[in-house]
Amino acid sequence: MNIIACIKRVPTTDAEVRFKADASGLETEGLPYMISFYDEIALEQAVLTKEALGGEVTALSLGPASGSKEIRECLAKGADKAVILTDDEWMSSDCRATAKRLAAAIGELDAQLVFMGRVATDRDNAAVGPMCATYLGWACVSGVIEMECGEDKGTAKVETENGIETVEFSLPAVITCNKGLNTPRYAGLKGIMAAKKKPLEEQAPAEADGQAVLSTVSAPPARPEGRIVGTGAEAVPALIDALRNEAQVL
């Protein structure tokens, strides 16, 4: 089975952001990057599925050629090959454009199962998976915390506001992975050595064709200055008073 894990390169979660002077965008120079948190889970699930069903795992990323460091990591953790759809402006590719461009590449790779993250931690769209599946005309289950998969169908569990739902899906399918689905492995020395010999291909993606129009970016408004109402249990009446009379939330 051809299995794909979609990997996005994102700024690290503690990266400091700087704004362009005219508020038209972010200064990206010098930003530290990582593989988006949930994509590590997607990659692990792809490798686990290959170990169970056989086949090949391709790590697929729309991003800069210089992102190959993060993509090599995927090869060291069990992907068999990698494809980078090179785009230096990958972060401003909107969710629809990203979904369409990934869908085109997924079609070319003749895959049956695609794993993605529930959400990427830069733009927080939580949209590329279900959008991509819709463009492909495939099944999709979003936010999976547990799953079993065979050659032509599978079962997945997702956590919703109503409780835990069990969903049956047919293949081909896109699965977006939530925390709890697995524990991503570390790359061992053997994996890192093996990764050097695995193929990493760069391709030109389909055109971006974006629809989202960014007007401005800004820092979030600062929260009003807070105060320490006191120390220990003796401070409780002062807190109650503040919650009732100032904040009026009690």
């Binding site: 979660t13 503690d14 990266a15 972010l26 948190f37 949930y38 909107d94 969710c95 629809r96 979904a99 931690t121 830069d122 927080d124 769209n125 939580a126 949209a127 590329v128 998976g129 279900p130 959008m131 599946a133 463009y135 099944a139 999709c140 979003s142 936010g143 956590e159 919703t160 506001e161 409780g163 069990t166 969903v167 049956e168 899906f169 399918a173 925390k179 709890g180 629809q211 989202a212 129009v213 960014l214 401005t216 970016v217 820092a219 979030p220 807070g226 320490i228 109402v229 120390t231 220990g232 249990a233 401070a235 409780v236 807190l239 109650i240 919650l243 009732r244 904040a247 939330v249 009690l250």
Partner: protein, 318 residues
């Protein structure tokens, strides 16, 4: 006038608050609303929506109502059939998932988890957070249809009196997925994203058993959910469904109480837009105090039971 189709979730015939907020967001931006509903009791829930800003409601019917793909394709049909300009949903699990699929059917971009929705002339503009709330982006759309989801607890519910014209639309697409069972959580148990009050505990609680104190404080407030930092979720003390933060849930309750949580940037990402923030931490230098409106420096094991008792006393007074 812009007309939006708004997905309304419901349970037991009552519309969920997040969906009513989505209707409210659309009305406040000057849009007309057509609600779309599915599932058992949908018709009953639809009847009440006139008072929350919907002029029409469309109930989806058919055996494929348990399939997200089939439902989404029917919702996109409703947008077209009603001549609407776009689609809106609350950013719940299903709202977010369906909105992404509907947007793709309409070949339109989706703006997720928006905290602002305003109209400028004929077009709508949204405000949303990027990079864990470190960036607020203002966006407009060049898409054929306008699609967005709204963050819970941010928008006001529209309160009016109106009637609603209810019609039906059959789900016709061949389903590719099917929900076969739901392990429901307790009727009273609110999700952290929905609850107006969230009481979260961190590693400062020391052991899983001590979360009984956090639960007791949440119970004292009433409409409250228990939240957790990643440290305690990773330690297995609490389920991931309760994790607040960049790799958990983003919450914006009226009141957020952080107990024994240091306030790491990834945690702040999930709660910094809450109405009022209270922090209880024994370390006066903990970064959580930088975003808190009110802080108590002290031992959670002394402060939390005293606070729970005081809250119960206030509630008993009425």
């Amino acid at each position: 006038m812009t007309t939006l189709v708004v997905f309304v979730e419901h349970s037991g015939g009552n519309a969920r608050r997040g969906s009513l907020e989505a209707l409210g967001a659309a009305r406040a931006a000057g849009c007309d609303c057509i609600a779309v509903l599915t599932g058992a009791d949908a018709a009953q829930a639809a009847q009440t929506l006139g008072n929350s800003g919907a002029a029409k409601a469309v109930v989806l019917t058919g055996p494929a109502e348990h399939s997200a793909d089939a439902v989404a394709s029917a919702m996109a049909e409703v947008v077209s059939a009603q001549g609407a300009d776009g689609f809106l949903a609350a950013s719940t699990h299903h709202g977010q998932d369906l909105a992404a699929r509907v947007a793709a059917h309409l070949d339109s971009v989706l703006f997720s988890d928006c905290t602002g929705l305003t109209s400028e002339g004929d077009s709508l503009s949204v405000q949303r957070a990027w990079l864990a709330g470190k960036v607020i982006a203002q966006l407009t759309s060049a898409a054929p249809a306008f699609c967005c989801t709204t963050r819970l607890n941010v928008f006001e519910v529209f309160e009016g009196e109106g009637s609603v014209e209810v019609s039906e639309h059959a789900i016709s697409a061949e389903p590719k997925t099917r929900v076969v069972s739901i392990e429901a959580k307790g009727e009273t148990k609110l999700d952290v994203k929905e609850a107006p009050v969230v009481v979260s505990g961190g590693r400062g609680m020391k052991e899983a058993e001590h979360f009984a104190l956090i639960e007791e404080l949440a119970a004292a407030f009433g409409d409250a959910a228990v939240g957790a930092s990643r440290a305690v979720v990773d330690a297995g003390w609490r389920p991931h469904s309760e994790q607040v933060g960049q790799t958990g849930k983003v919450v914006a309750p009226q009141l957020y109480v952080a107990v024994g949580i240091s306030g790491a940037i990834q945690h702040l990402a999930g709660m910094r837009t809450s109405g009022t923030i209270v922090a209880i931490n024994k370390d006066a230098e903990a970064p959580i105090f930088k975003v808190a409106d009110y802080g108590i420096v002290g031992d959670a094991f002394e402060v939390v039971p005293a606070l729970a008792e005081a809250v119960r006393a206030v509630k008993a007074e009425g």
